[in-house]
Amino acid sequence: MPQGIQRLDFLSVWNVMGPEIVLVLGGFLLLTIDLFMKKEQKHILPWLGILFFAIAGGMVVNNMVRLQTAEQLQHLSGYLYVLDDFGNIFKLIFLVGAALTLLMSVDYTKHVNLPRGEYTYILMFGTVGAMVMASSLDLITIFVGLELLSIASYVLVGMRRNYAKSAEGAMKYLMIGAVGTALTLYGMSFVYGLTGTTNIAIAMDSVTAMWEQFRFLFLLSLVMMLAGFGIKISMVPFHMWTPDTYEGAPTPITAFLSAVSKAAGFAMLFRVILFLYSNFITEWYMIVVVLAILTMVIGNVAALSQQNMKRLMAYSSIAQAGYLLVPIAVLGKAQGSVNLLQSMTNLVFYIGIYVVMTMGAFAIISLVTRDAGNEKIDAFRGLYQRSPYLAIALTVFLLSMAGMPVTAGFFGKFMIILGAVHTQSLWLAGIMFAASVISFYYYFGVIRVIFSKETDGIEPRLQTSASLSVVIGLALLVTVGLGVVPDVFLDVLAQLKWFGPTA
């Protein structure tokens, strides 16, 4: 546990924050060379960004392999920032998601005029924010990470300067995000006020000691932080910004928000809420249960009437956030640390899958909507005739989101429901699956449109650029692969030392 003041030198920081440092330095490097580059040379910038993501990813993997005994658990300045596998696996997911976003953007920026330099390095900074959120064990550091990600997101959403919807989306996101920031900070200030520390590990003991006395204030702080984090993950009732922002943002950024930003929100939620208040989870888990149900049901029901593909995906992502809350909700009735790990495994498994299938779907959506010049679902009519490959890939992603077997999405839901069954929350599992049946309606609606015949004889075939093909191909491989042999990923998760080997 923390002792005194530690002197920070570069090596100790590097040992803990290596991947983040690489990305930050990489971002600044890009920023600098962007200034001196000619416009026609700038197409190399996203590729440089991908390179940095790859390096950072390699370092994260290295960190995971190195972490075998308790002594090897690296941390910074008295558990301000820890390098446990919980953070590492999330970082990997962020990096994969962000790299896929950039890969998608290579194609997107060819057709939509966006400042490639800013776009790339702001995305890198945002990813660093997400990584900080996953690894910090201190409320202030978490907040810094949250703001870094949020501010980067606001800018990225509003980057299409001469597109009104982009500005509208950014504005809405900024406004609601600011409220969320205030709420989060306010909630955190309660914790600090009561416990005298912002360090989660220390505060945890104080919370346990003082819970009886200050139950109401602790619960208030929990609710406020939940609200703040809820905005990041599009949890009902803090989801209102989602459809407008998703619609307005450049499509790769929509994918980034829907996948990486949401995964970061969950990492933070799990870390803060469960660490600080886990001893009293029986007193508040019903809040999460209710929010999970509301999010699943409202997200899916609102999606039914959508005509715009990106808005549909926005509501679908709200619903998915509801499914992801279920592993947290069932913890209220679970006993034992293995169950906590199990819930976490289920959550991370689904998030990992979700990021990949979302990326795959948005890659196709970005291509098709650009080709059609609008984002209506009708733009997908007869996609099968125009490009069987894209049509089948999108069908697989949608089926995976709907939770059909032999796709990764099914197995993710399957693992979550297994966790629910184990805590005798059959009814919650039932609601979750019933909600996904509602989602059949709109997912299959899109699939039907994809396979319905174009009326006017000649259909120009869609050209898929190489970078997009890579994104789609990879996502397809993972979605189908993990649907058939999910143990591959589950085995990796089973070997993780979540909160360090001793925890």
């Binding site: 293995v338 199990q342 184990h422 049946v437 039907r448 042999v485 089973a494």
Partner: protein
């Protein structure tokens, strides 16, 4: 020999994949591939029948590990592993269903010969559906079972949604949502069962036999209300899946809007999956729950019998009439199963198979007649027996089989079912027999309005049954009569298995 089950299941799938690589304009080749694939599966199913050992054991087993999770959950601080297997096998209960699937799918391809609209996709989905159906009946692993069950859902959605009637989209979605909810229930209850079995035995598996054993041997370790919830969810799912009242409304719609070949496979096979789940999982794993809720299930069965028949009475469309007639007939299955007697269970399986065969036959005939008259509406027809004597004759034969004429499969089924039911629920069964009388009324009345009397329409140049149409008609009718005259042909296969099931119940 053991890979025969894999072959039967995968042949249609292989066929559908080959079709993907055939140009869409080569319609006759596509149809040929589909016919060949289903014919080979049929041959495989007959080979199964030939090599079947009627001792009631699970045979032709294929046991392969598929997904293994070292720690699915924790029990007493010990991780419980989870195994999902690619386990196939058949016994006397599944073999009749496999044969039914093989026969009806082959004949449905013949009935689909007229499909000229998007032929390639049609047969692609069709063969995929057939694979799903075979898979459902040969799976020994509940997870695999569910997977195949979902595989039937997607093709059927498209088969109704693209090749259906005017309201096809709405009805296809209705089908999807209803069956989707049924799937949810089935999956949740399967998981609940596998979990409970794993909890008592320390190792979680989705293998049906292991789950059934665990429930039998350590059943008392599973709390009563847990068993009750699992059963309630499963039973609710079966009610939706099998289109029992009050969850039946999707079935008449689906039949009304489907093409006749799709109706054949829907009414003939797909609609029997729910009953199969009831026999295999309901009776096989949770017999005590069926016994505990016997009266309620029987009442529901009788409601279905009478309600289905009464509603069938007022239908104006042949397809809807047949759909409600199916609901009524499957009500007998519920009543018979609820009795939990040997005869009741036997009758229920007989009824299911018989209803499958007769549905296939009748939907084929209605489709053939509709092709000539342009309508399936009963009041629009009239006197068609003058121009279409053969089709009308077969329709009459099918209707007679359906209303339970002695010498045909429907009669055996009803007699054995009610024999079982009367032992346990004399009054309810007496009310249930009303359904038999009503069936005679609505079927004969509909026949009379369709085939006899003054001609309702002029059919110029309408040709009676073609040579290709004789194959399904004669084949299906012959089997219906064969079972009716010599029920042992089916009974010998399934009785040992059913006896073992009933022995488990101890009733």
């Amino acid at each position: 020999m053991n890979s025969l089950l894999i072959a039967i299941t995968l042949l249609p799938l292989i066929g559908s994949l080959i079709i993907l690589f055939v140009p869409g304009s080569a319609k006759s080749q596509i149809k040929g591939i589909a016919l060949l694939a289903t014919l080979l599966s049929l041959a495989g199913a007959l080979a199964l029948l030939g090599g079947f050992d009627a001792a009631g054991k699970m045979q032709f087993q294929v046991i392969k590990d598929w997904i293994q999770i070292p720690a699915a959950f924790e029990q007493n601080r010990m991780p419980v592993p989870l195994r999902i297997g690619f386990d196939l096998g058949i016994d006397g209960l599944s073999l009749p269903f496999v044969l039914l699937t093989a026969l009806v799918s082959f004949l449905s391809v013949l009935a689909s010969w007229r499909v000229d609209y998007r032929t390639k996709e049609y047969f692609f989905w069709f063969l995929l559906l057939v694979t799903g159906l075979f898979g459902v009946f040969v799976s020994l692993d509940l997870f695999l079972f569910f997977l195949f069950l979902e595989l039937t859902l997607i093709p059927m959605y498209f088969l109704i949604g693209i090749w259906g009637g005017e309201n096809k989209r709405k009805v296809a979605t209705k089908f999807l949502i209803y069956r989707g909810f049924a799937s949810v229930g089935i999956l949740v209850s399967f998981l609940g069962m596998a979990y409970a079995a794993g909890y008592t035995s320390g190792s979680m598996s989705f293998n049906m036999l292991q789950i059934a054993d665990a429930f039998k041997q350590a059943g008392e370790m599973i709390p009563g209300d847990y068993r009750m919830w699992v059963f309630a969810v499963l039973f609710l799912a079966i009610l939706i899946e099998e289109a029992f009242f009050p969850f039946h409304t999707w079935l008449p719609d689906a039949h009304e809007q489907s093409s006749s070949a799709v109706s054949m496979i829907l009414g003939g096979v797909l609609m029997k999956v729910g009953a199969y789940v009831l026999f295999r999982i309901g009776v096989g794993v949770l017999p005590d729950m069926i016994a505990a809720f016997g009266t309620a299930i029987a009442v529901l069965g009788v409601i279905n019998i009478v309600y289905g028949a009464m509603v069938a009475l007022v239908q104006k469309d042949w397809r809807r009439l047949l759909a409600f007639s199916t609901i009524s007939h499957m009500g007998i299955v519920l009543l018979a199963v609820a009795s939990m007697t040997s005869a009741g269970l036997q009758g229920a399986v007989f009824m299911t198979i018989s209803s499958g065969l007769l549905s296939a036959l009748l939907f084929f005939l209605v489709g053939a007649i509709q092709h000539r008259t342009g309508t399936a509406r009963i009041d629009a027809m009239g006197g068609i027996s003058k121009q279409l004597p053969v089709l009308s004759g077969f329709l009459l034969a099918g209707a007679l089989g359906s209303l339970g004429l002695p010498g045909m499969s429907g009669f055996v089924s009803e007699i054995v079912s009610f024999m079982g039911a009367f032992q346990k629920f004399p009054i309810l069964s007496a009310i249930g027999t009303l359904g038999i009388i009503l069936a005679a009324v609505y079927l004969l009345w509909a026949m009379q309005r369709t085939t006899f009397g003054p001609p309702g329409m002029v059919l110029e140049g309408a040709q009676d049954a073609t040579a290709a149409e004789y194959v399904p008609m004669v084949l299906l009718l012959a089997i219906v009569i064969l079972i009716g005259v010599y029920p042992a042909i089916l009974g010998d296969i399934m009785n040992p298995t059913l006896t073992q099931l009933v022995a488990k119940i101890g009733g």
